[in-house]
């Protein structure tokens, strides 16, 4: 057994986290920043943070992840990191020539209290920021929230560039939240089909799903541009997908630039996609093209064709709040039974949402915000499930408990495809169903006796 020391009996822990279902803020800020065109993320702290985040993102995307660090030494930790950051800014603009540097902090620079805004102002005064170039920033203390919080904070940091000229430009801002580059591409495709002009930020498509062509560009073609971020202040409205990932930025934009916003769930599955498409249609005052209605119909068709295999199957899930909420709704909508849910990200709102979504089911769901995968594993030992959904770390539970396992979330370190194939929208729903169905039927084919073994399913 891989996790041989995990007991079935559950004892409350107050201090020890085992096998976390979250990581720290800065990596979220780094991922978000990569969704800005020509942006070099910068980690203000020890160089290890940056190395770890780059490694984790590289392993997940199988793409180069460029990011710089202030490389704190003990001296910087005592006297403050201003000199390091100023030097870094000069070096970055000279050597790598990005359009924008996106600085995020770490537990180190937060604990010593470095003021990034003041350092940025100083860099500008000293002429270290070339004309037309920008520094955006956010505070990402690792000891608050999770990687999701860091993502949200950096997206909010981007809204600082937005300008309200007083003249609306007819565009809709869409904040997709922490989804894959493939998902961002799919959101843009849906909006394009509906002929709704959107500004998607961040947008990692074209950045983290690039081609192999014999050329390396540190700043690939994708990403939301500075110009688009500036114009976001003149949009007719903002759709924020995901309360945890995106709402903060949308509300900030509302306060700063009077761009009204609506917070929706991430468009995973039928109903959340329905709400996304319907809302987008309503705010843009347009009609939904037949093509999208047809895609929806295909998803409904597949649900109906394969429903018997989902019905009342128990599922354990772990990951991030926005994704889990949408996924839970999707599972419930196809009559699967989400049974155990854990997110490492704190927030009681999460537990409440899950309880609401599962309120009509004939059992009480196990749900915990600020929980860990050790607890989830214990729940599974006490109440086995038919499917496990989450990031790659779940493979140890899946193997020990012999549970079919859908890799979905961050990080996925041992499979490929998430860069290219979306799981948002109706098409993404089809892909999720195909994967879930494949896992359930592969298991059935493995476990059925020779007598029961079927050609047609």
């Amino acid at each position: 057994m891989l996790l041989r020391h995990t007991p079935k009996e559950i004892n409350e822990r107050s201090a020890l986290v085992i096998n976390p279902a979250k990581t720290c803020q800065p990596i979220g800020a780094m991922y978000a920043a990569l969704g800005v065109h020509g942006c070099l993320p910068h980690s203000h702290g020890s160089q290890g943070c940056c190395a770890y985040h780059r490694s984790a993102l590289t392993k997940h995307y199988k793409e180069p992840i460029s990011a710089a660090t202030s490389s704190f030494t003990e001296g910087a930790s005592v006297f403050g990191g201003q000199a390091n950051l100023l030097q870094a800014i000069e070096n970055i603009f000279t050597v790598y020539e990005p359009e924008v540097i996106a600085v995020h902090t770490t537990c180190l620079s937060e604990t010593i209290g470095d003021d990034i805004k003041q350092i940025r102002d100083k860099a500008e005064k000293q002429g270290l920021v070339p004309k037309g170039k920008h520094i955006i920033y956010c505070n990402t203390p690792s000891y608050i929230g999770s990687h999701v919080t860091g993502f949200s904070n950096m997206v909010r940091g981007m809204t600082e560039l937005a300008e309200n000229t007083g003249k609306k430009n007819g565009k809709v801002n869409v904040i997709p939240g922490w989804v894959e580059p493939s998902d961002m591409e799919e959101i843009k495709r849906i909006a394009a089909l509906m002929a709704v002009p959107i500004t998607l930020f961040p947008d990692t498509s074209g950045v983290l799903n690039g081609p192999l062509s014999g050329e390396y560009h540190m700043f690939p073609e994708g990403g939301v541009t500075i110009k688009e971020l500036k114009e976001a202040g003149d949009a007719i409205g903002t759709l924020a997908l995901g309360e945890w990932c995106s709402a903060d930025a949308a509300r900030t934009l509302d306060t700063r630039c009077k761009v009204p916003c609506k917070v929706l769930d991430m468009p995973f599955g039928l109903k959340a996609t329905d709400r996304f498409v319907d809302t987008l249609r309503t705010i843009a005052g347009t009609s939904v093209p037949e093509e999208i209605t047809r895609e929806r119909g295909q998803l409904v068709d597949m649900i109906s064709d394969s429903h018997q295999y989902y019905y009342q199957k128990k599922v354990a899930l772990y990951g991030d709040p926005d994704q889990l909420i949408a996924m839970t709704e999707f599972l419930v909508s196809i009559d699967m039974w989400p049974t155990h849910l854990v997110t490492g990200t704190p927030g009681k709102k999460f537990e409440k949402r899950i309880q609401e979504l599962t309120a009509h089911l004939p059992y009480e769901v196990n749900v915990k915000a600020g929980g860990d995968m050790f607890l989830l594993h214990q729940w599974i030992k006490n109440e086995p499930v038919d499917l496990l959904i989450g990031n790659t770390y779940g493979k140890y539970i899946a193997r020990d408990e012999d549970v079919p396992f859908l890799r979905w979330g961050f990080p996925i370190l041992d499979r490929m495809g998430h860069q290219y194939f979306p799981t948002v929208g109706y098409k993404g729903g089809l892909r999720l169903l195909e994967k879930i169905l494949g896992l359930i039927l592969d298991r059935k084919d493995r476990d059925d006796s020779e007598i029961q073994f079927e050609l047609t399913l």
Binding site: L16, I18, S142
Partner: protein
């Protein structure tokens, strides 16, 4: 001498100038001392700047002290609960991310699949985290009853002044049957992972080594220092040692256990693989317990044979020497056959190696066996002695960053010190050309006119590849895809791209096949679409 390549010819001086010319003046000056054009000096090895601070903003390959301590050194020990005191990220990123294989059997203790953290919150940073740390240690003890609990400090812990050593001591005394010890390995200490190796090894030496005097069975007892069992390297080395009749008492720290460390002082020879991460432990084992040490290298079939013979020579027992020769004779035919198969496809190709604190040197052996030339190399966290040899150690400058890494003073143990060889025996060996505590470094093995570069960064790597166009580049995961985007295959020598083992005889064969696959993969010929190769329509299409 010019560096030859398929497409262009640049002198090393021109390459170096190209790499430096875009830097701000201060950066260029600093980097210039870390980029050495190798000269074949007759008496001395040229000097390189190494183990100095990374330049802020310059995209480095390096990690931090915590990574070196928790990730590298303590990560591979299976029966110690490694509890990280800090915000969640540090423990998360070091969770199963190095490929240290371990064999705990069906029922043995193994915590390596687990990730333990105090998940420090803002209130802990404000009011101190000692209380939470104590509670977490208690909870780990209650759940698992391990032999040992190791506590690792992350950046904020040092800043807020949590006394992790006092907490560890208190809990150790409270439990009585569980050794609790701590590492002050805050990420901001030192200039790279190397400082973390040092901090880890010092604590292992202080808290674990020498605790178990029980005589282990077997003859020809050695310790294997600086072998981390990435991809099963240690298993292959152990297989060979076993065939030879050599007993490995303790590996620091691949596939290791608490008891191996505790028994290390009962071995009769220390064999150092990774010089960078552990040579000082070898010194301490000698000073305190009288165990001599030698440098070995099990990367490369010839290097493996040479290292085995060196161990045989040390023990000086004919039965052992004969057995070693028999093992080499039995293993080499498969190696030779594999080389004969791939050599026509690898001979004459070029490689660049930028990895670790010893790997960049060790792997030159394997490339040599493939007929491939290492045209540029350097370490990520090496020190000058890893480049220039141990002769420079007395002259190394102790700067502010090195000074804050604890040096422990060791003296001969009044009870346990026992010289393994008499002074006459040692002298006889040395007179016969046997070298103790000897490492000549990487530079002497590099050709004149090649570039040796310390702490190579992203920008310089791209320049090197662009100008010299090697057939293969070796570094880590962060470098992998930017190099491959340029159409050059890239081999990870930290994680082995999830393959291996590459050590020993079987490992060498695995490596030959892997390099053959990489440098001859068809994919590198697919970069351009037909319409990109011939964009102009020269005539109308002729239907058949």
């Amino acid at each position: 001498m010019a560096i030859q390549n398929k497409h262009a010819e640049w002198t090393p001086t021109e390459v170096k100038e190209e790499m430096l010319k875009k830097y701000p003046a201060k950066v260029a000056r600093k980097r210039a001392s870390s980029i050495l054009i190798n000269e074949a000096l007759s008496n001395t090895t040229p000097e390189i700047q190494a183990n100095v601070r990374t330049i802020p903003g310059i995209i480095t390959m390096r990690g931090c002290t915590y990574a070196g301590c928790k990730g590298v050194i303590m990560g591979p020990t299976r029966d110690i609960v490694n509890l990280v005191h800090g915000p969640i990220g540090c423990s998360f990123y070091a969770w199963l991310t190095r490929r240290n294989q371990t064999d705990a059997g069906e029922a043995g203790e193994n915590y390596m699949t687990y990730c333990f953290s105090t998940d420090m919150q803002d209130s802990d940073v404000i009011f101190g985290g000692e209380k939470k740390l104590k509670a977490a240690i208690q909870e780990a003890y209650d759940l698992f009853h391990p032999k040992g609990i190791a506590v690792f400090a992350t950046c904020p812990v040092g800043l807020i002044g949590d006394d992790i050593h006092a907490v560890a001591k208190e809990m150790k005394e409270k439990f009585g049957d569980c050794n609790v010890f701590a590492f002050s390995c805050e990420g901001y200490k030192g200039v790279s992972q190397s400082a973390g190796h040092h901090i880890a090894n010092n604590q292992v030496f202080k808290h674990l080594v020498g605790q178990n005097d029980e005589k282990k069975p077997g003859e020809y007892k050695i310790n294997l220092l600086g072998e981390y069992n990435i991809g099963g390297d240690g298993f292959e080395i152990d297989r060979i040692l076993k065939l030879c009749g050599i007993s490995n008492i303790a590996t620091f720290s691949g596939n290791s256990t608490y008891d191996q460390f505790a028994s290390a002082h009962t071995a009769d020879l220390s064999c150092v693989m990774c010089h960078r991460s552990i040579n000082y432990v070898a010194d301490m084992l000698e000073t305190k317990y009288g165990i001599p040490w030698i440098k070995v290298n099990f990367i490369g079939a010839e290097a493996t044979a040479k290292s085995l013979r060196k161990i045989g020579q040390y023990f000086g027992d004919k039965a052992l020497i004969d057995r070693i020769e028999a093992v080499i004779a039995a293993e080499m035919p498969a190696v030779k056959a594999a080389i004969a198969d791939v050599l026509p496809r690898t001979q004459g190709k070029t490689a660049m190696l930028f990895v670790g604190g010893s790997r960049a040197h060790h792997y030159m052996e394997l490339f040599g066996e493939l007929g491939m030339k290492t045209v540029s190399t350097g370490y990520e966290f090496g020190h000058r002695d890893d480049y220039e040899g141990r002769e420079v150690i007395p002259n190394l400058k102790v700067d502010a960053d090195s000074r804050n890494i604890e040096e422990i003073e060791v003296e001969a143990d009044p009870d346990k010190y026992a010289p393994r060889k008499t002074a006459e025996e040692l002298k006889a060996l040395e007179d016969g050309g046997f070298e103790f505590k000897d490492y000549k470094g990487l530079i002497p093995d590099m050709d004149k006119g090649t570039l040796v570069i310390d702490d190579l960064n992203q920008y310089e790597a791209e320049k090197l590849v662009e100008l010299i166009k090697p057939d293969l580049f070796c570094a880590g995961i962060k470098e992998k895809y930017s190099i491959q985007k340029l159409g050059i295959p890239m081999k990870q020598l930290h994680s082995y791209d999830y393959g291996g083992p590459y050590a020993g005889f079987k490992g060498a064969v695995n490596f030959y096949k892997e390099i053959d696959r990489l440098v001859n993969s068809k994919v590198w010929g697919y970069m351009k679409a037909p319409w990109q190769e011939n964009p102009e329509l020269s005539a109308t299409y002729v239907w058949e």
